[in-house]
């Protein structure tokens, strides 16, 4: 087939190699605007896994690439003046220039026609072909010339890509405090003379530091000065380097007719997970294989191959884009983590994108994890510590024997939550909701080795519904229902009863019910008390602008908290279960959630149980494994309060990762018995 490739980056070159190898009869022509040796950037990183794929795809290229590799296995993290090293990560890097030279050479050997210094501004200039490949990068002109449903959004910090003649022996993250905020580098070696140094910081910091107005030389001088300790007297090198915002590219379609997007033109993944070149080259492998599978004898076969390629690659790319978004967000907000002890800060950094877990780290670097676990257990001088989920938590005077929280069967758990207990008859969720703590088997929980937490609720406008096995928020028949109360007279879901807006007398009564239930819970021997300020129940309805038009939305919840704090023994912890974002337009945001958490902590809450959504019936939740973890991380870091989090954590490894990274202090585990 006749193939026209626009852009001689890793994607276009590698695809040409693989196609030509599979069938030398292909006529392939590549158009590239730059000269053969001219390129932006410095080095690119590959993981072991990617190398395996390259080995299988074209051994000749693989050999040449790996011959020139800089290899290392450590990640160094410079934070608060200390450098922590984590090993076992198995990276390789190569100069982008070198990589391109190898791919170009291989193309020539195989008979691919390369046309350098040919800038294509109008796709109509391209020759007729059976297949047209848009491998012309982030700003692809070919992509712009058609409707691929492209969305481009800036992601993460402002960054600049420098080189240096210092040769590092590890990947290095370095965090520097300035009066304008935290500025950090990502650096790594890529040949025997040179390393890459990417400097980045959030846009407000960038502006406040004046970096937006500096000349190239001033900018280099600023960064050299700030990271002098890392550079060890070496200088930063510019290669048309400029401060940029990273655009996240997504496309609804990756092909249109016989035009296909490959590499950065199809998708980008933030550089902080170092996967752009890998994804570009894996795209090439997948597309080349698709032609082996479907052939290229006619238009239909070519279409089938293009569709196959997209179907195969998309799930993989989605996963990397998700990880990249998490990573970019992490670096944008990393200033909030400066309260973490160094080793926990390091674990938080290493596990930021969800691709590395506590167990993965322990395999890569047992010593690092052993010491992290010892620090976590607060006993750095011992030889071994239990894994984080088995490490006790001292909360006030309560010693919770381990970090697992369950509702139900206490065996193995550190803390058992009761099902919601209503503080009054009219606060029940369903007719089966228990009222008052009296009959709860606290002793049985203690005998099983766990502590017991009483969860007090008032259902508010989500009351008088059928039990959850028949669905949630399904109203009882009118003759079985009871009148509901809320912050305003708006019903919750379709067919739900319209509640009465609570008046001052109602509020006083409810506050007293909470306080007396708290006192009863103390007498009944509960170790912790949880107040339900979450998920659209009565107290949550006061906190959301969607359900409470009043200015001071914190007033009543704080009154209830104070009343309970007084009725509940001082030395026993009090937990507030809080919806930290409504996940709905015009609802409370995570910034509100942080402010609320801070206010409750000041008013005597020992811990926040992080929840999200359900304030109103129609919301936009983002469900996945650990969907509340990032929110818990923000509450814990930004409101400086311990947290309990669930959000579909399904394994002890996930729990260990959340805990070791300091994203929460206790975890609810979802197990399907």
């Amino acid at each position: 087939m006749k193939v026209c490739v626009l852009g001689a980056g890793p994607a276009g070159l590698y695809l040409s190699i693989l196609l030509k190898r599979a069938d030398p009869a292909h006529e392939i022509e590549i158009f590239e605007r730059n000269a053969p040796g001219a390129t932006f950037g410095w080095g690119v990183v590959f993981s072991e896994e990617t190398l395996g794929e390259l080995r299988d795809a074209d051994y000749a290229t693989f050999l040449r690439i790996t011959d020139t590799f800089a290899r290392w296995d450590a990640i160094d993290i410079r934070y608060r003046g200390e450098v922590l090293r984590s090993r076992g990560h198995g990276f390789s890097a190569i100069a982008r220039k070198k990589l391109l030279a190898i791919l170009q050479e291989r193309c020539r050997e195989l008979g691919v026609v390369l046309r350098f210094e040919t800038s294509i501004e109008d796709p109509a200039e391209l020759p007729e072909a059976d297949l047209v490949v848009a491998s012309d990068g982030v700003n692809s002109v070919l992509r712009r010339s058609r409707d691929f449903g492209t969305r481009s959004t800036p992601q993460g910090c402002k960054y600049i890509w420098y080189g240096t003649d210092l040769v590092l022996d590890a990947f290095r993250f370095s965090f520097a405090e300035t009066e304008h905020g935290l500025i950090q580098t990502h650096s790594y070696p890529f040949d025997e003379h040179t390393s890459t140094v990417i400097v980045e910081c959030p846009e407000p910091t960038w502006r406040a530091a004046g970096l937006d107005r500096m000349s190239d030389e001033e900018s280099i001088a600023f960064c050299e000065d700030l990271f002098a300790r890392d550079l060890e007297g070496h200088s930063l090198l510019s290669n048309k380097s400029a401060w940029l915002s990273f655009p996240r590219i997504r496309n609804r379609r990756w092909s249109d007719g016989n035009v296909v997007l490959l590499g950065d033109s199809a998708h980008t993944a933030h550089f902080s997970i170092g996967s752009g070149t890998k994804l570009a080259m894996e795209d090439a492998v997948s597309l080349a294989n698709a032609f082996v599978r479907h052939g290229h004898h006619d238009r239909a076969a070519i279409r089938a191959a293009l569709v196959h390629y997209e179907l195969e690659r998309r799930p993989m790319v989605d996963r990397f884009q998700q990880a990249a978004a998490d990573s970019a967000g992490y670096f944008e907000r990393v200033r909030h983590h400066t309260g973490l002890p160094p080793r926990q800060f390091a674990v938080n950094l290493l596990t930021r994108s969800g691709r590395i877990s506590h167990a993965n780290l322990a395999l890569r670097d047992p010593e690092f994890v052993r010491r992290a676990d010892l620090d976590f257990a607060g006993e750095p001088d011992r030889l071994f510590a239990p894994p984080p989920f088995l490490t006790p938590l001292q909360l006030g005077k309560a010693l919770i024997p381990n970090r697992l929280v369950v509702t139900g069967d206490p065996r193995g758990a550190g803390l058992v939550r009761t099902a919601p207990i209503a503080v009054s008859e009219d606060g029940r969720i369903t007719p089966e909701t228990q009222v008052g703590v009296a009959s709860y088997p606290v002793d049985a929980v203690h005998e099983a080795g766990a502590l017991a937490m009483a969860c007090l609720t008032h259902a508010g406008r989500r009351g008088a519904t059928r039990p959850a096995r028949f669905g949630v928020d399904v109203p009882l028949p009118p003759d079985e229902a009871w009148p509901l109360l809320s912050a305003s007279a708006v019903s919750y879901g379709p067919l739900s009863q319209v509640p009465k807006a609570a008046d001052e007398a109602d509020l006083k009564r409810i506050r007293d019910h909470f306080a007396s239930a708290a006192a009863e819970a103390a007498t009944a021997g509960f170790d912790l008390l949880e107040l339900d300020f979450a998920q659209g129940r009565l107290l949550a309805s006061f906190l959301s602008p969607l359900t409470n038009p009043a200015e001071d939305r914190l007033r009543f919840p704080l009154e209830v908290l104070s009343a309970c704090r007084e009725a509940w023994p001082e030395e026993r912890p009090l937990v507030v279960r809080l919806t930290v974002t409504d996940w709905a337009p015009r609802g409370a945001t995570i910034e509100d959630g942080v402010a609320y958490a801070r206010a409750f902590a000041e008013a005597g809450a020992s811990m926040i149980h992080v929840e999200a959504g359900q304030t109103v019936a129609e919301t936009r939740p983002v469900y996945r494994r650990g969907f509340l973890t990032a929110l818990s991380d923000r509450i814990r870091a930004e409101a400086a309060v311990p947290t309990l989090v669930g959000g579909h954590l399904t394994s002890t490894d996930e729990v260990n990762t959340v805990l070791a990274a300091g994203r929460a202090d206790l975890c609810l585990l979802d197990v399907e018995a």
Partner: protein, 266 residues
């Protein structure tokens, strides 16, 4: 994992006789369920009518909409239709609902497209309040759809795709289920398209049926399962990801397809 078969009610030219015979053969075969799709502006048989016909000639199989586009009907009309099929089949009925993807169906039904999500929620609340016996599934891929599923339904109906796509949707369904405080776990249904006899005709049908999605129709057509091996891999993949019931929808309305599929699954 159970495997069901689709009834070709949205395949042009399928006659009443063919649909009835199809259901009868499926009742004899290894299939757990006979399922239908819903599409208003297309040469097709209305899903509840198709299932009513199937109910009359079957004894064993479950009958399911997978899915019906709820908001095209009023809540009361939908409940009536569902109730009727449940009654005609002695309770062998599963009602899968979603908002669908086609604006033209809403225009034709004079139903508001903008509020479709809320209307589906209202219908589900209505069904749950009026009749607790019918098994309910909800499909859709937005967070709101998963929440709706977990709030009202018994399970989740996935819209199709490779097993990996099903797996990630299944995780989201389970997460939503726990988040809404439902006990146990949601039932998980998957689906795929197949054509064993005349793959080109099947794929051409999918291209036409999904023409409204633009170039994406190609993607769906290319995923058509056209060999015994592809079907077996697909079934194995779904079983491995914890699917409870997988429905294979025909893309060719030829009665031999039922037997061919039965043979592959045997």
């Amino acid at each position: 994992m159970k495997v069901g078969i689709g009834l070709p009610n949205t395949t042009p030219d399928a006659t009443g006789r063919l649909l009835a015979e199809w259901a009868r053969r499926a009742d004899d075969g290894p299939f757990s369920t006979v399922a239908v799709l819903d599409r208003l502006v297309y040469d097709s048989v209305e899903p509840f009518a198709a299932l009513a016909a199937a109910a009359a000639v079957t004894e064993r199989v479950r009958l399911a909409t997978n899915i019906a586009i709820g908001p095209l009907r009023s809540a009361a009309m939908l409940a009536k239709q569902a109730d009727s099929v449940a009654r005609l089949s002695d309770g062998r009925f599963t009602l899968g609902l979603g908002v669908g993807a086609r604006r033209d169906d809403y225009t034709a039904a004079e139903a508001d497209h903008h509020t479709r999500g809320e209307r589906l929620s209202a219908q589900l609340a209505h069904l749950r309040t009026e009749n607790t016996d019918i098994e309910l599934l909800v499909g859709g891929s937005s967070g709101a759809a998963f929440a709706r599923m977990a709030r009202y339904a018994d399970g989740f109906a996935h819209g199709g795709g490779p097993p990996r796509a099903f797996a990630s949707a299944a995780t989201r369904a389970r997460a939503a289920w726990h988040d809404l405080g439902r006990p146990g776990r949601p039932k998980l249904w998957g689906q795929g398209y197949f054509a064993l006899g005349d793959p080109d005709r099947g794929s051409a049908y999918l291209r036409d049926y999904y023409a409204f999605t633009g170039p994406f129709a190609e993607t769906i057509a290319a995923a058509n399962l056209t060999s015994a091996r592809a079907i077996k891999d697909f079934v194995r993949g779904y079983a491995a990801e914890g699917c409870d019931e997988l429905i294979l929808f025909p893309t060719v309305a030829d009665l031999d397809e039922v037997d061919r599929l039965a043979e592959v699954l045997a």
